[in-house]
């Protein structure tokens, strides 16, 4: 009975880490796509690429929870810089002295 | 009148450039100079007191308002802090500048010869806010003037 329990925990661990690794990698890819768009619009932040690199390093070192966290942070930042670019399009005139 | 570079007009700049180039050719062999020994120990001393001792030995030291020290309250940049030292004291042998908190407090030491007037300016480096001390050596005594100079961390973000 004991060996089955051990076997189950290991399997769950392996399976879940595979899932997390999978989603971390997916989030990194999404972050890279969003970053590319931010670059195209000319509003990339200097911090985003560092987060992506750290996320990749975490995936390689097997720290999957960390990888997932960093990847999400990178994705959020990249999306925010795109929002910033859109906001600038519509609102840059507000700061012009009249 | 451009305040930014009083007394430094383009025309004079080119004239001096041309002339000094000519003089360099004239400088023949290095004249025999009595190189005063560079105070290795003083410049490598890590504390203010050891640096002063290495520079001047055990000469008596006292604050003296006759030593006019012109330094800013807040340094524009720690890399180039302007220091002006002027005194009416007689027989001035040397002037030294120390920054207490620098890794090596002794920054510069100027030894005077015949006919040199104790009125100097220089630029020193300060790692952080610190006491800046000027010491004038005259007639076997050390006359000190000091002031706290604030040094701010540069940059507004990053």
């Amino acid at each position: 009975m004991k060996t089955i329990k051990v076997f189950l925990t290991v399997a769950i661990y392996l399976f879940s880490s595979m899932v997390i690794a999978n989603s971390a990698v997916k989030t990194i890819e999404a972050a890279e796509l969003a970053r590319a768009e931010a670059i195209e619009l000319g509003f990339e932040w200097s911090t985003t690429v560092k987060l992506i690199e750290q996320a990749k390093a975490s995936v390689e070192s097997g720290d999957l929870k960390e990888a997932e966290k960093l990847a999400n942070l990178a994705l959020t930042e990249a999306n925010n810089s795109i929002k910033q670019a859109k906001y600038a399009d519509n609102n840059w005139q507000d700061n012009v002295p009249n | 009148m451009t305040i930014s570079n009083k007394g430094f007009s383009r025309r004079r700049f080119f004239k001096t450039l041309g002339k000094t180039a000519g003089y360099i050719a004239l400088a023949t062999s290095l004249p025999s100079i009595a190189w005063a020994k560079w105070s290795e120990k003083a410049f490598s001393s890590k504390t203010l007191d050891s640096a002063i001792k290495a520079c001047f030995g055990d000469l008596p030291i006292a604050d003296n308002p006759a030593v006019k020290l012109d330094v800013p309250d807040i340094a524009e940049n720690g890399a180039m802090v302007g220091v002006g030292i002027k005194t009416e004291l007689e027989n001035v042998k040397s002037v030294a500048v120390f920054v207490e908190k620098n890794p090596a407090p002794l920054c510069v030491k100027y030894n005077f010869g015949k006919g040199t007037i104790p009125d100097v300016e220089t630029r020193v480096r300060m790692g952080e806010t610190s006491n800046l001390i000027a010491i004038v050596e005259a007639d076997g005594k050390l006359h000190r003037s000091q002031k706290l100079v604030k040094v701010t961390i540069g940059g507004c973000g990053g």
């Binding site: - | 007394g7 004079r12 000094t20 004249p31 407090p105 510069v108 030894n111 010869g113 006919g115 480096r125």
Partner: protein, 109 residues
């Protein structure tokens, strides 16, 4: 040591007192600075400057790493426009530099 220490001097003589402004090109490496790939740049600083006027060393400067990059000094001495003095410099690597300077009259604006 092919390169020489570059020295620039400006002088203004006003009724017998010469104001000399001296700027000496030197990196003044304190030994604590790092280059782009992160390794420390070794100590290298100006050590001494001597000013010889009428065969006398009238001014001798000793410099440590606490002096600013491209060290700058203003000093005053009794002298006459038209006469010459010589500046000699040496740094911690033994590189030298010399400059002969003709004293100029202060231009009254």
């Amino acid at each position: 040591m092919a390169d020489k220490i570059k020295i620039r001097v400006k002088t203004k003589e006003d009724n017998g007192v010469v104001k000399a402004l001296m700027l000496i090109k030197h990196p003044m490496e304190s030994g604590m600075r790092k280059d782009q790939d992160g390794n420390l740049i070794p100590v290298h600083h100006l050590k001494e400057v001597s000013v010889v006027y009428k065969d006398e060393t009238i001014f001798h400067g000793e410099f440590g790493t606490g002096a600013s990059k491209d060290p700058f000094v203003i000093f005053h001495f009794e002298g006459v426009a038209g006469e010459k003095f010589e500046v000699n410099a040496v740094d911690s690597k033994g590189v030298t530099g010399t400059k002969s300077v003709k004293i100029k009259k202060l231009k009254k604006k």
